[in-house]
Symmetry: C2
Subunit: 454 residues, 2 copies
């Protein structure tokens, strides 16, 4: 079988920073240097983004929820709306990509197509959209529902939604703009078309009311771990934000995802960016001490409630000095977040942890991998995962921000650069160029078809 | 009858600039100095905003549509989504307010509450929301409708929507944030409440997932000219963007609006900011020449189609050298834009214009007042309207941008300042302070009640 040119291109390591307000660890805001108000301070986000840009990161990433879904008596949450915040970040940076999360369950496709196209215009081609279906009940209750819409239905809506958003981005040809002062012709209206979409969930006439985004399509990112989620990612995503606790799980996930993508004719595959929390010290002992100090500042009742929430059980069933209960089933009959459930269980089994040890290992988090060590140890781990094809890059969630990212940028990035794993300069100006993704051509025809415009 | 302290405070003139892409006149993009791509160039908007800020304007204003509703073969349209664009503008300015338009017919209240609250946070208290119900068919067809929702229903939804958005902004007390590192208390959850709204159009549990906006509420702006529109403005708006062709009409509109506001117990009334297009020359003859040159660059078939659209008739019924047809009725059985229909008819009757003269007088526009003259003449007109209480200020729509605003800033603003009508420095840092508006306290209770929290 002949190899496509795409697979012969050298793989490049990608690094994003997920600006989780004060940092990944729930107690990060309590550090001496931390500003507790950082979660609503635009200057904090700009500072972190500039630091990431100074290290030539691919992108900043903003998670999102459409409700309060954590215990705000103990910790900050994702609060500021991502597209507005990312526009502020884009105005203060020049190269780094800006990826924001938005839900397909609680938005209209026309509005999302337009907001991310606008973000792509104002950032001159640096926008990405992280497509989520939103699994929690509090969000559902902010949009007229009494219960979370069914998992399969959410993903069916997400698939139609994403297809439609792409069609709206393609409703203008790249060369539709004329702007000829002499003749007075402004737009070539033959190159602007309705989408005339009529599907199961949406009926949208189009066209979009703004020219095609600089990148053609803002980069599509997804994070689904369930079968439906993987299928959506395989069909549409150009990068996934994954949550795997072990090299083997991540490698298997990456193989599965790329096989699914190939089945959709997407031979270039999908970039797997593994979620990774780093806790860095000059020595391993110092790093472990930092982790323990951070974890000791999280009230146990917070951590127990959070872990119980991920597992879909009552906190009463958790005993700090015992292992997890047996026979746990997906929360809410499977109609919740599969990814964090599986990743948390896997880590508990792998380590044989008590609940207390599990919470410590997860640094008070729930699902994402936490690595504690020296810059050299972390660089070794990243190299192992990257070269072993368990990941194409990492969505970093430093323990605390900005100082956890500073430690990474000053300690780990130079090692990765010396080893030839990570760029020392940006080669282009768009998020697509950082991620090595082609600019998509315009596809016309009914949404859902794959007809390339000639 | 005793006068309230509010009415004794000296009235202050307010000036906004409506950044209508290349400018108000449809041919503005064809001027020698114009960049035809300005409508999608964030730097253009930033340049105009900085110019307005240098002249101490109250705010920049962005209109919006959720569809292509003008003839893009001849002219630019509002394209970039306002909240994302305003975040870019806010990042490049320090004092000027940022007011954006968003539709209550094609959005969810939770999302709008969140986006404008975020804009208020990232701009440190400079955000305003222009509430519109969106009267056009192309927009309706981008959101699953075959026809424009009924006028009364749109306004009923808008009233419930606006009430609910305010309730969501009030779902956090101003002092809910603690952030005490020693005790580990982050938010006082007793000061964060659900809204538990269940109305005719919406069911939203709340609370909002971010702290109360710096201004309490972003400033509420409205532009309705119909009875329903005036009622919505009287109940909720702190400023209206009006369209009146004559001093008498505007004064009558302002009296009517303030009487309606008083009936809702709002004794401070509503700031009336009249739409005003300026075409400025060193002499009146020069200004008229500029207008005619601009109008001559607009194809007549464009202007006829646009005027016919506002009047809800076929362009065949318009004869350039005759007056408007008699017995015109509100377009679409009254289910469209009342404001521009009435204002255009009023100007045609007042001037006794032929269609050609009417289009020239309106500078190719449709509804908003156009004033052509020297800086002195324009300053006189503004002073007359302001002192005569026909308006509290103006939403300026310069003929072309940025040069039409430069002419206003360099020519008209110094005259207004010399006459003591307009500020020479900002007195505060928020849009509320520029507009002389109080910061609203938190109101709790079922939405729709007016119970002040004690």
């Amino acid at each position: 079988m002949s190899r496509t040119p795409a697979t012969e291109a050298p793989r490049r390591l990608h690094l994003n920073v997920n600006i989780l307000h004060s940092g990944f660890v729930p107690s990060a805001w309590r550090l001496d240097d931390a500003d507790p108000r950082a979660f609503v301070d635009v200057e904090h986000y700009v500072r972190v983004a500039r630091l990431a840009e100074s290290a030539k990161f691919d992108a900043v990433f903003l998670a999102d929820n459409a409700a309060i879904i954590d215990q705000i008596d103990f910790r900050p949450i994702t609060a500021l709306e991502p597209t507005v915040l990312l526009a502020s970040i884009a105005a203060a940076t020049t190269h780094i990509g800006v990826i924001g999360t938005a839900s397909t369950s609680y938005n209209e496709p026309y509005n999302i197509a337009r907001r991310f196209a606008t973000l792509d215009h104002v950032s001159h081609g640096r926008a990405g959209w992280n497509v989520v279906t939103t699994a929690d009940l509090p969000s559902a209750r902010n949009f007229g529902h009494d219960a979370v819409p069914d998992h399969a239905q959410r993903y069916a809506r997400a698939a139609e939604f994403t297809e439609l958003v792409k069609a709206l981005w393609d409703s203008w040809d790249d060369d539709a703009f004329i702007g000829d002062k002499a003749s007075g012709r402004f737009i070539d209206v033959a190159k602007v078309r309705p989408v005339a979409h009529e599907g199961r969930f949406f009926k949208v006439q189009g066209p979009l009311n703004l020219p095609r985004p600089p990148q053609g399509h803002p980069v599509l990112v997804q994070a689904g771990g369930s079968g439906d989620g993987r299928d959506l990612a395989a069909r549409h995503a150009e990068a996934v934000f994954s949550a795997s606790q072990s090299f083997e799980e991540s490698a298997a996930y990456r193989r599965d995802l790329n096989a699914r993508a190939a089945a959709y004719g997407r031979l270039r595959g999908v970039q797997v960016l593994a979620g990774l929390t780093t806790i860095i010290g000059a020595t391993e002992a110092q790093a472990l001490r930092r982790r323990d100090e951070l974890v000791d500042q999280i009230p146990w009742r917070y951590s127990l409630a959070r872990l119980a929430g991920i597992l879909g059980i009552s906190p009463d069933r958790l005993d700090l000095d015992a292992r997890l209960p047996e026979n746990l089933a997906l929360p809410n009959g499977g109609n919740g977040n599969h990814t964090f459930f599986h990743a948390t269980l896997a880590e508990a089994r792998r380590g044989g942890h008590t609940v207390r040890e599990l919470i410590r290992t997860l640094a008070g988090g729930g699902g994402h991998r936490v690595i504690v060590g020296t810059p050299e140890q972390i660089a070794d781990d990243i190299e192992h995962w990257f070269k072993g094809e368990a990941a194409d890059g990492f969505n970093l969630m430093p323990d605390a921000l900005p100082d956890g990212l500073e430690a990474f940028v000053n300690g780990v990035v130079p090692i990765l650069q010396r080893r030839g794993l990570f760029r020392t300069e940006y080669e282009g100006n768009t998020l697509r160029s950082h991620l090595g993704l082609e600019r998509p051509g315009v596809r016309v025809g009914a949404t859902g078809t794959e007809l390339e415009r000639t």
